[in-house]
Symmetry: C2
Subunit: 195 residues, 2 copies
């Protein structure tokens, strides 16, 4: 690993998703790893941090999440544009070598048995909070974030640093048909809210 | 209204939220209107289109949603940076003139009795799908999108046009502490996924 990685305090973990990036969802069960792309992931709570993610019934990743009770939400970068698109288009059901074909390199951190995707801007290790009705009716999964890390070149001291980081480290925001947007310029609201 | 507004086909409505913008949530009940900002809103399904939004128990908007069974999710623009921040900081509980102070102008469309915020890039009219457990345990609300519209300068023919629209029409992506990012440059993934 050549990335500089540091833990993100759990009370700052929501910020990794707050601006709405497209994410990669990864999971491992009984020696099988899968990674998929998801535009429909969202923060749900601050403390303890929770998040939602929509996992279609056709995906192998969903099966691994349901069986293992754990998953990782990671935030890919502009440099991972094609990787993100490809793991979103292919299924491990049809292509057992999907990850290798997509250029996905996995690693682990802190001795946790979780598949993290190398090169991302941030990673959130999650414990599934079982909600069978949501999962069945809406494909909606809820996770509690139990650990988080970031590439300190682009997120450090509790905030994103897109303004000063390399543009290749910006987050991706998917629309449709292979079209993404990178996150753009910083804007600070007038904090003098007059009462 | 000086904005050029057109309906968005329901099968394209998910695209309005797919790239993760911060939204404004509005609702009306018995003559009371409220508008709040929410970074935690997310598409949930394509057809019929559904979405999730997190509404804190302290907000007046949540009460209006629960009583009326309807709400509007709208996508504010860079030009509405301060408006978005202010309606996110103030509560109608404490400030009955919150909307006027925040510079919010409301209008309606197609004869629907719903408060739409003028100047936004897009609007999604939603019917609440009651899910009492989600609402109570997670502050998580699910809506079915029953109509959608866009400002055609920035979303038309079924897709966002940030590349060619005025930069003031770009969407906002909130992080924390008054810091937002505008959506940035378009990136097209290599669609030749080799099998």
């Amino acid at each position: 690993m050549t990335q500089p990685i540091a833990p993100v305090p759990l009370d700052k973990a929501y910020q990794l998703l707050n601006h709405g990036p497209t994410v990669l969802v990864s999971a491992r069960h009984q020696g099988v790893d899968d990674v998929m792309a998801a535009a429909w992931a969202c923060a749900l709570d601050f403390s303890p941090p929770k998040l939602t993610v929509v996992l279609d019934k056709m995906t192998r990743t969903r099966e691994l999440v349901q069986h293992s009770g754990h998953f990782v939400i990671q935030v890919p970068t502009v440099a991972q544009l094609d990787l993100t698109y490809q793991v979103g288009q292919r299924s491990l059901h049809q292509q057992p070598d999907k990850l290798a074909r997509g250029g996905v390199e996995l690693f682990d951190l802190d001795g946790r048995d979780l598949p993290l995707v190398a090169g991302c801007a941030a990673w959130l290790a999650c414990r599934l909070i079982p909600e069978p009705h949501n999962q069945q009716a809406y494909d909606l999964f809820i996770g509690e974030v139990v650990a988080a890390w970031s590439d300190t070149r682009v997120f450090r001291d509790g905030r994103w640093r897109f303004e000063t980081a390399d543009a290749a480290l910006r987050t991706l925001h998917y629309v449709a048909g292979g079209r993404f947007y990178a996150i753009g310029d910083a804007l600070d609201a007038d904090q003098d809210v007059k009462d």
